[in-house]
Amino acid sequence: MTVVQTVLVFVGIPAGIIAVIALAVYGKAIVRQPNRYRPGKTWDYPGAWYVPHPEAVVARPSTGSTTTAVGGASGEW
């Protein structure tokens, strides 16, 4: 085998295999960047408040314009 052939067989083929596996693993993420949060990543989207569909909500007689917080829980991650 010439030097070129040796390099192709012992470097080229492993590199090719590694490239195929890497593409299979990360390819999808490279092509289409998923809109995904990761802890520690910045989050600079404006605040948004999501409420259920009005027809899913039981109408309550309004007791005034505001209410007060009574309980709940908090946490951090």
């Binding site: 989050w43 408040w49 999501y50 409420v51 505001t66 209410t67 007060t68 917080a69 991650w77």
Partner: protein
């Protein structure tokens, strides 16, 4: 279910990503529809009004979450999440606290934290809403 998120009718709440048009928005259309389904189902099941706030808290965070809650009604439950500050707050009112003791909220918060720490923001919110709805029971 149309997959559209209904926005709260307050001035400040209308800022941010619009419904299912996520151009540059925080969530993809698929994520928004999951969020919408969880919100609507848990509200319909329990008769409580669940809402989800995703955004930054002004310090002190708990006071800000409670101030947000004060715009809702007595039977509301607010799940407020700040991904940037890695904080979450669940706030209940006079009516909803009877159905949802703080213990149940803490359990939901714990499950949400686990998902958030894995980077699954929408999954955590959906899990939290399901747990809260289960704890509150049907009306």
């Amino acid at each position: 279910m149309s997959g559209e998120i209904t926005r709260a009718p307050s001035r400040e709440l209308q800022e941010g990503p619009q419904g299912d048009a996520p151009a540059g928005g925080a969530f993809t259309a698929r994520q928004l529809s999951r969020l919408d389904e969880a919100l609507t189902l848990s509200s319909r099941e329990t008769g409580l009004t669940f809402s989800v706030y995703v955004g930054e808290f002004k310090a002190p965070a708990r006071a800000h979450a409670e101030a947000l809650f004060e715009r809702l009604d007595d039977g509301s439950v607010l799940v407020a999440v700040s991904p940037a500050q890695r904080l979450l707050h669940i706030v209940t009112g006079p009516e909803s606290a009877k159905r949802l003791p703080n213990r149940a909220c803490a359990l939901a918060a714990l499950a949400m934290r686990a998902s958030f720490a894995n980077g699954d923001l929408v999954g955590g919110i959906v899990t939290g809403l399901r747990m809260l709805a289960d704890a509150a029971g049907t009306h």
